[in-house]
Amino acid sequence: MTVQTTQRRGGGYLERPAPSGLADVIEIILDKGIVIDAYVRVSLVGIEILTIDARIVIASVDTYLRFAEATNRLDLYKHGGKDLTEAVGDLQEGGSSKKTSGAIKGVKKAITGGSKDDDEDEGRPAKKSSRRRQSSDA
């Protein structure tokens, strides 16, 4: 199996990495899937390689220092960043109609409050850290 980072459409902004390495695979399958009842199962292997989970953010002094240092490391004022709303707004006003895809309309709708049916039974999207299932029978 060859390992390539693929980008399907030329000049596309959406990155499409091909999952190939161990890290990618761990990322995808770690702790995922049906768990077989311990009475039936004789082993659950592989736990030891998974102690590398560096994704947990603990709100500690160290973490805050990390955020502070990341902030202070930068020469911030040379960045004239735009937030998402501005970026999409520019795109609309600038008449960048070469890509009037559903996404832009969707984002626009989201920004402008959208039509009622967007929100009817969904409520707000789940916040970070909450796992959420849409189906009513979950």
Partner: protein
């Protein structure tokens, strides 16, 4: 079986997933230890398993890759309920009776829900410099603390530095909540379900698994492409998939 079967008590069954009994398993599909993938079936459903020595050293890297390869191959050729990595059942009878038959209805329902679907995983990260610049620009208190603490040597646990980090962290949380809502609202019309995954780091925005109807994969991808273009100055979007529906089989039948 060409090779002589090892003694039964030394061999267990590594379980990759549950599939319909009539699932076509590619002939050359091999998993852990290069063992052929076979089906053990009961009442219309089957466990995709491979023989595995019970005393083998567990959890090698190659095992993870093999697990992933088999489960994705099964998903590719039909529908599969993935089983968690590293699950071994001691004999065929237990696979049949205690795993499959005991949870038959649950598996059948999952298989029917997942039929015709596929999973993609989206990771959204901020351009760290951009988003931190926003944070400083948008909050006078942060800007002030930034000015006062920027010349402190790194690693100094100065109270102002801790305070700055705390405020930046909270500001990023608010940005994440806002941008997450926006991304999910944009994608919602094109997905059947979504599950947020754990993530962390200064540049973390959102890790989310989407369950997609295979027939609308193109619309899903096009929408994401448009979104990626719209936000590219401050957000990177990376899409992995299609993969087996690892994130959509939660809820144990024996819960």
């Amino acid at each position: 079986m060409p090779e002589p079967a090892p003694l039964p008590e030394d061999v267990g069954y590594y379980v990759y997933g549950v599939v319909p009994a009539d699932a076509g398993v590619p002939d050359d599909l091999r998993g852990l230890d290069d063992a052929a993938v076979q089906l053990i079936e009961v009442d219309g459903i089957a466990a995709a398993v491979g023989e595995v020595a019970l005393d083998r050293p567990p959890g090698r890297r190659a095992d993870l890759m093999a697990h992933s390869k088999v489960v994705d191959a099964l998903a590719d050729s039909g529908v599969v309920v993935p089983v968690q990595f590293g699950s071994v059942i001691v004999d065929r009878d237990s696979v049949r009776d205690e795993f499959l038959a005991a949870n038959g209805e649950h598996f059948a329902r999952l298989l029917s829900v997942l039929d015709g679907t596929t999973e993609f995983i989206l990771r959204a990260t901020y351009d760290e410099e951009q988003v931190l610049a926003e944070v400083v620009r948008e909050d006078p208190t942060i800007a002030d603390l930034h000015r006062h603490t920027r010349d402190l040597p790194p690693g100094t646990p100065h109270p102002d530095l801790v305070r700055l980090g705390e405020l930046v962290s909270a500001a990023l949380e608010r940005k994440r909540a806002y941008d997450t809502d926006l991304i999910l609202a944009t994608m919602r019309p094109h997905v059947l379900d979504h599950v947020e995954r754990a993530g962390g780091g200064v540049d973390h925005l959102l890790d989310v698994a989407f369950l997609i109807d295979r027939m609308t994969t193109k619309q899903f991808e096009d929408t994401l492409e448009g979104l990626a273009e719209a936000v590219h100055e401050r957000i990177r979007l990376r899409l992995t998939g299609p993969v087996a529906p690892y994130d959509f089989v939660e809820g144990q039948p024996w819960g």
